[in-house]
């Protein structure tokens, strides 16, 4: 039983990491109705920026302290991408978004390879192998920090969308662009803020993961597939759903990998995904429609 609980705890922690990446993706869909196929690459860019800042400071500053400048840089990067690439295709149909974001993902991979080479880069951090005990259970510190950050970010995004005027404006725009416009809300500006927020969250996730993983240009592909499953399972546009489904996917993957086969774990996850789509196409935690 102890081993099972430890396995589930491991799954919860890796699920938190999936949720961390998924939250940004689900916000972008919730507001702009765009499935962003470059979200994994935004994570990758965030990790590279963290690594670069870490090296610029001569490894003397903790990578966790660099999360704030990384978040700011990624927010501005999101604004740039929105203004230059997304705005021209707004309202032009789903295929335009899909093709654009797929092209953007390849562009970012190749730009990253050109700047940082294709080699695997990582930072040396004592946190990487640190852990603490809760009773008989070992909790890896780096993953615990990422998990707590995921909870905090979901909470902060929830507060932002519910309590702040700009958040309410974003929600209004996501529900009805025309009515929002009649109320004096600038939809384009709200779309920009939402998209940049989604990119910022992916980049922030990168800053939290660089102590754990090596970064390379195709890192985004490693996470993208599972994160899409998380977002869809949670309900597109459902932030709390992304958190819970991330944890669910992490637990399923880890339990199957530990007690059955590591190679079968992703297969089981996607069988679950297909089963949910057949019976609850709007996702496990969605009652239909978009809920931010």
């Amino acid at each position: 039983m102890t081993q099972l609980i430890q396995t589930i705890l491991n799954g919860v922690l890796i699920g938190g990491i999936y949720a961390l990446i998924a939250v940004g993706l689900t916000i972008i869909f919730g507001v702009l109705k765009i499935i962003n196929f470059a979200q994994g690459e935004f994570l990758m860019v965030g990790m590279y920026i963290s690594y670069t800042l870490y090296m610029l400071f001569n490894r003397s500053v903790s990578s966790y302290l660099l999360i704030i400048p990384v978040a700011v840089i990624m927010f501005l990067f999101g604004v740039l991408i929105m203004k230059l690439l997304i705005n021209p295709v707004l309202g032009k149909g789903d295929s335009a978004y899909i093709l654009l974001t797929i092209g953007l993902s390849y562009l970012l991979q190749n730009v990253a390879q050109g700047i940082w080479t294709a080699n695997f880069l990582s930072i040396n951090s004592p946190i990487k192998t640190s852990s603490f005990l809760i009773g008989d259970f070992i909790i890896p510190l780096a993953k615990f920090i990422a998990f707590c950050a995921a909870l905090a970010l979901v909470f902060l995004v929830h507060i932002f969308l519910k309590k702040l005027d700009i958040g309410r404006a974003i929600r209004a725009t996501s529900e009805s662009r025309d009515i929002a416009q009649l109320l004096g809300i600038n939809p384009k500006r709200m779309f920009t803020v939402a998209f940049a927020l989604g990119v910022m969250l992916a980049g922030t996730a990168g800053g939290l993961l660089i102590p754990v993983y090596s970064v390379y240009p195709r890192l985004g592909v490693t996470f993208s597939t599972i994160v899409f499953a998380v977002v869809v399972l949670g309900g597109l546009g459902n932030i709390k759903g992304a958190l819970f489904s991330g944890i669910l996917v992490g637990v399923v993957e880890t339990v199957v990998g530990t007690y059955w086969s590591v190679n079968l774990a992703p297969i089981v996850v996607f069988v679950l995904f297909i089963a949910v789509m057949l019976f609850k196409p709007n996702g496990l935690f969605s009652k239909g429609g978009v809920k931010l």
Binding site: K83, L84, I115, A118, L121, S130, S214, Y216, I226, V262
Partner: protein, 432 residues
Amino acid sequence: MKRKIAWLLLICMFIFMFAACVDPQTTDVSGTEDTNTADDMQNEDSVGSSDTVKFAIVAPLSGSSADWGNEAVNGAKLAEKFINDAGGIQSLGGKKVEMVVTDSTSDTTQVATIMERVLTGDQYVATMGLCTSPLATAAMPVAEKLKVPLFMNGTSIDFMEKGYQYAFRITPGSPEYTEAQVGLLKEFQDKYGMSANKIGVIYENTNWGVSQSEPTKTMVEEAGFTVNVFESYTPNMSDASALVTKLKNAGSEIVFVMSQPADLKLILNTMETVKYDPLVIGGGGAFLFNSLYEELGEKTQGIITVGATNWTNAYLDANAECKAVVDAYESEYGHFMNDHAVQTFVQIMLVVEALENTGKADGESVRNSLINDTFTNVYTRMIQPGVDIKFAENGDLLPYALMLQWQDGKPYVIYPSDASTKDIIIPEQLVK
């Protein structure tokens, strides 16, 4: 329109600003200074002068196999220096040799195209540098078609059984690797009273991992051990906790690992995080690189792995000329001469001897000499203990493998005893 152009220029500025802040020469896997100068040597489109005998060094200098490839290029460049300083190829009137370096990438879908472009661009007497079985497998048909001997460093048995006339290998195959690993474990049992019996085998599900893991399982069980975990994983995994937890739950006392650098670090770090401390026996690969020491530092002390060659062994150390090679390598590149660097260096020396035998600088003549002649040049001591080299009909050599142990930041041979240069640091797991 003007605003769009302005945004585009702003993005370009953003990208170039970052490119200026990042110097690829000083970034590496562990975030430490990169002492590797192989990037400086890459010369993708150069064909060199017609007064030189050219070797095509097609090696992965980017991607997951870059560690391998960079070391191979370093070994090649050192060989170039040694050969040319000694007066070049005497039978060809003292012609110098030239290593023409190309990045094969680590992508098996690209390597054949790259090899074709290289080998059709000029005349080469041999090609080496493809350090993994999948890369060599993808490129071999091109070398075969163009009649250029290709030396591969991988362990796949299948590769050498495909009937290629121009395929060569000077390193052990998977069974020889496993024989060494099992031999060491038996020695631990006999000499040190090791009682550990449960073995976990984890490997990446690539050609290399699969080809090495299967004979490992068979031979380990034949030696009386119990394989209680036999698990593959997809490379570049996002989480190793399931794999490590499985090993820990099963009580595997010894773990055989066949892994590339990024996954190996994830696995070892995860083991440390969950306080799981088995005796890890490396399957070569990422266990043989200086970057492991850069990543783990003092934690490498006592790590054991199998290897094909090493910068030091009893036979190499006893020969001044061989010793001069490894000393020159360390002096030039700032770290010990890795397995792949040694292999590439010796491969080139064998081809040079073939050129001296034939007096002809073409791939077909070199190939015929490699198959028909016995090789006696002094550098063979770096891979074989004092015996002359004779390739089998299929181009394979199959020397015995070595067991290495990391001590004080470098790997040393600890088994077999006639090749060893250091006493074994008894693994803590054996004295529990």
